[in-house]
Each structure stands twice: as C-alpha cells, then as structure tokens.
Amino acid sequence: MSLNRYESQVRGPLVEGGKDYHQITEDICRPVEDKPSKLWWIGFIISVCLLIFGVVSIYMDVTYGIGQWNLNKTIGWGWDITNFVWWVGIGHAGTLISAILLLFRQGWRTGVNRAAEAMTIFAVMCAGQFPIWHMGRVWNAFFVMPYPNTRGPLWVNFNSPLLWDVFAISTYFTVSLLFWYSGLLPDLASLRDRAKLKWRKFFYGVASFGWTGSTKHWQRHEALSLVLAGLATPLVLSVHTIVSFDFATSVIPGWHTTIFPPYFVAGAVFSGFAMVQTLLLVTRKVLGLEEYITIEHIDVMNKVIVLTGSIVGIAYLTELFIAWYSHVEFEWFAFKENRVNLSSPYGWAYYLMMGCNVLSPQIFWFRKMRRNLLVTFFMSILVNVGMWFERFVIIVTSIYRDYIPSSWSTYYSPSIWEIGFYLGTFGLFFTCYFLFSKFFPVIAMAEIKHILKRSGDTFKDNMTKDENETLDEFEHENAHHH
C-alpha cells in the first residue's frame, strides 16, 4: 500500500536534506537543548532593556496621566491606537497560517505555523496594552466587563464597536493560545522523553500534560485541530473587521467608510506575513533550520505578500475614488487636502504608506526576488513600516483638522513616553519570542513528520509514476492527438 498522496511537482520539497523521523527530532530539539548562543543573549538583553523602557513609560503615563502624551484637542488617538491596530494586524498571520491553510490542506504551513502562532500570541499581547493603558484610570479597566455592579447596575454598551473589540481580541487571544498549545503538547512530550537533565524532565513533563501519542488521542487531536481551525477561520476575519468598525461606524470623514473591513483584513494579513518573514529569516539562520524553512516557504509567503499588498492597494484607490465620487465635501477634503496634498502637514506619511505598501511589494512578481533572502528581509521591514504609516494616516490625518478651522490641531508629534511605550511593546514581543525560541520547539515536529513522506526530498522521488509526473509529461502521454 502506498502512503504517498499526490503532491504537486510544481512545488519543491518542503523538507530538504534527506531527513528521517529521528533526524527531524534531533534537528528541531537541538536549539532547545543546546546552550543559547551569544547572539541569543545579545538579542535577549536588548529586548529586556526595551521592555524596561516601556515599563517606565507606562509608569509615567499612569502616575502623571495621559497628558504625558502629546495628544491634543482634535487628536485623541495618536500613536497609541496606531500601535494597537498595527500589532493586532501583525497578529493575524499566525492564525491564518495555522487555520485557513490547514483547511486548504497547504502542506507548507507545517514549517512555519508554530513560530507564526507564537508570534500571533505575543503580538496580540502587545496590542492589548494600548487600549488598556489608554484608559488613563487603568485601575478601573475591569469596567469593560459586564458584571453585576453597584453603579446601577450599569451594563456595558453592547452596541459599541469598542466593546466588540474587547470581546473580539480576548476571544482571539484565547483561541490562538489553545490552538498553539494543543499543537505543542506532542512536541513537548518528545522533548520530555529525550530529556537528560532533571529540570527538563520536570518542566517538559508538566508542560506536556502526560501526552503519550496513543492512536485514540491522535484521532481526537486531529478532530480538535480541524474544528479549532474551522472556528478560527471566521474568527481571524472577524477580529480585524471589528477593529475596522472602531473607525468605520463613526461619522469622522476619512473613517466613515464601508470598505474598511475587507481592507483592514487584507492589510492585517499583509503585515502579519511581513513580520513572519522578518522573524523566520533570522530564526532559520540562527537556529540552523534552513532545511525545514526552505526557500520554497519564503517564496510562497512572498506570493501572499504581493497578493494582499495589491488588495490593499486597490482598497486605497477605491476609497480615494469614492471620496471624490460621493460628492461629500468633508470626505473629499480629508482625502484631497489632508492626504493626497503632499505639501499638507502629513502628506509625506500618505506617500510613504503608498510607496511601502502598494509599489514596493510589486517586485515580488519576479521569482528571483521572491527567492532572494536579502530582498525579502528588506521588504518585510519596509512593509511593516508602511503598514504602521497606514494606521497613522487613517487616524491622524482624519482628525487633525476637524469641522472648525479655528480648532485645527497644531502639528502632532509623539512625546518620549509615547515612543517609549511603543518601543516597550517591541521589548515585550521580542523577550517573549526569544524565550519561546529557547524553550519550545520553533517548528512543529509532529506535523513535519506527518508530511515528510509526501513532501520530503528523498521521498518525493519514490512516488508512483503518475504522482511523479509533471503536468507537461502527463499531457504528453494522455492527451489525444488528432
């Protein structure tokens, strides 16, 4: 009986280096079991320093109030909400990779899903900080929960998109965490059974919940992953849709736009994949995992980037066109004078956004560029800069000039504590990611083993004749000639 299934020959092998099952375990456990490298320590210490800067910034914010930030009368949401939307957006790639691509049976997800899911969880943790500390009186943050209280009871407003956000993001965080951790169980059990040191046996023993690899457990595990993927797929689309409702349901010119939900979701996937590229290009190099995160994986993710980048581009042009076509004076003013006009105070931000998000990803139409690591790394940074400016443009250029010119804002630039808060979330994100890459397997071992005999380089050659044929060969032999 052949266990091989048809696997496209257009795609290269997903696991290189002629691996067998044991070799996979060895390769992926090695970074966990070895002592961390000097590079790891340097990165980790820098991250912790940034995190401390963030904590100090939040201390200033809580002690002296939101007045520590340069927000003013018309700009109530500045860097803070920009950063919030940016981090949430980044958090979208992980679940997209693990859930949507699982449903689409994309084998290449197995190489990158674990790290991408971890990235999602850390990014959502960072995102959550911004609305929470923006509350000012953060000790009252629990007021967002609907619970019987002595203030009436006064319930929260379930008609408000800001409350939808509370539910959407906390649900997204919980589901991503469950998805990630249930996938980790078998791999933690592998680490436990290999462990030589006492603390490792203890730690991975507790963390793996007593997983044994029983067939019945695997059957349930598969059912769980599949249903969680089915649930997470609409969830991932709903989360950024709801974030976009924060803007779209308002009546502010520049925000009051029906195209926001799909536009935000595409943008989120776009920036999320860029962040996955940034992280994985470094991870594969530093941990020596080039045979598992291959050029093939990077190529495929760059295709997603060019696709979603182009969707975002069409969305930009559509909203611009509709602003003009609608004949709404205020809407058109927000676009024409506050954004497109290069000599306006924030015109530069609009063109930076356009350049980074719409024009630059177009180089990924070329296969050579998609497979060039340096270009990919540079582009992944550029895309995330662009996506940050997208949110900045949406927020700041829409509100710095309101309906009364006399109250038009002075030029808004962030205070040191706003910048510190943002850098602090980088610290949080990378501290978590460094710890993750040290103590957890960054690639899903069980899943790689599962696809090995279909997509590993040595096994691809052993397929039956039909399975191994390219499209041209198949056509040549089977097409009718008249």
């Binding site: 006064l154 407003n157 592998s190 023993g205 507790v206 695997w218 059957q219 969680l228 609409p234």
Partner: protein, 195 residues
C-alpha cells in the same frame, strides 16, 4: 487503572505497521494501543476505533455560547436597564451579532479543548506509562495485552514475524496518576520500574 502485562513491538515504517496491525488483530490478539510520534491517517480505522464525537461536543458548546450571548445581552439592555441610544430599539439584534459570534467561538473552543483534555486525561502533573520513549520520536510502538490464555513466546514470535523490532514483555499501568517525570514512578503506592 490496573497494572497489566503487555507485549510491545517497535515498528519503523508505516508500510510495515499497517499490515502488521491487520495480521495481529486477525490472529485474535488484543491491541491495547499503538503509540506514534505523529498522527497516522487511517490507523484508527485499522485498529477498529470509532470516529470521535468531539466535534459534536464543539457544536453543542458553540450554540450554548450563542444562547448565552443573546439572552444575557438581551436581558441587560432590553429588560434590566434600558438605555436609549439615539432612539434605536432596546432589543437591537444586529449590533449584537459580533459579540454573539465571538462568544460562540469562545465557548466552542474552550469547551472542546477542555473536553479533549478530559477524554484523553491530559493535565499538568499527570503521568502515564507509554512503553517506549521512542514513540514520541521516531517509531510506532504496538502494545498487545496479555490475557490468561496468551502464550507469551508464541505472541512474541508472531509480532516479530509481523515486522516488529525489539519485542519485549512489559508490565505497565494502563491509567494515569499524579506524578512528576523527573521522579521515580509511583502508581498508587506501588513502585513501577522506570522505562
């Protein structure tokens, strides 16, 4: 929850494992379980296992979430404390759809995961026997239960003949107990040799 005697065999290849499972079952041996490092599609059917009903549980948790959301929000905003938002109806269903959806997903995901852990008896500090540590690395470990009628030597020969490597007789606990993996296994007061 009992210590039983098993004959265990290691398999290195799925292509050997599948016919072996068929043979062993046909010969009337009782396969307690096959431990594998990754899910092998079709092995559950081959072992005569029924499909899991976990997804039905997920559905039930999901509709529970929807029901909780709509009834709770409806009660709060339309009955307990009515607030007039721009003259809109108190029972404004369309505005509640996002949270109804989120709670559906939340209840379903959390409920299913807990049910999964319950069914598989997985939790921190839970310890189990699993015959061979290589079954979480690279081999497929089949455990055949010995009954009074089992002729051990015959069974060992049968497994070896079916393609199993390093066949052994092992005494193992079938259930779980609270324990730590860095300490000697103690099953309900009785000592069991470490694997």
């Amino acid at each position: 929850m009992a210590i039983k005697k098993f004959i265990t065999g290691n398999f290195y290849d799925e292509a050997v494992l599948f016919p072996a499972v068929k043979k062993v079952r046909r010969a009337g041996y009782k396969i307690q379980d096959v431990y594998t490092p990754f899910p092998i599609h079709g092995l559950d059917k081959e072992l005569g296992m029924k499909d899991t009903d976990l997804h039905i549980a997920g559905f039930i948790y999901g509709i529970t979430g929807t029901t909780v959301a709509i009834s709770f929000i409806g009660w709060m905003l339309a009955i307990d404390w009515q607030i007039n938002f721009g003259g809109k109806p108190f029972f404004s269903l369309p505005a509640w759809i996002p949270i109804m959806f989120e709670l559906t997903v939340l209840f379903s995901a959390v409920g299913m995961t807990l049910t999964f852990c319950w069914l598989c008896q997985l939790a921190p500090f839970v310890k189990k026997d699993h015959f061979n540590p290589r079954s979480t690395d690279d081999t497929f470990v089949m455990a055949v239960e010995c009954t009074d009628k089992t002729n051990e030597a015959e069974a060992i020969a049968f497994l070896e003949n079916a393609g199993a490597k390093d066949v052994q007789v092992q005494e193992r606990e079938t259930g779980w107990w609270f324990g730590r993996y860095d300490r000697e296994s103690v099953v309900f007061g009785k000592k069991v040799a470490a694997v």
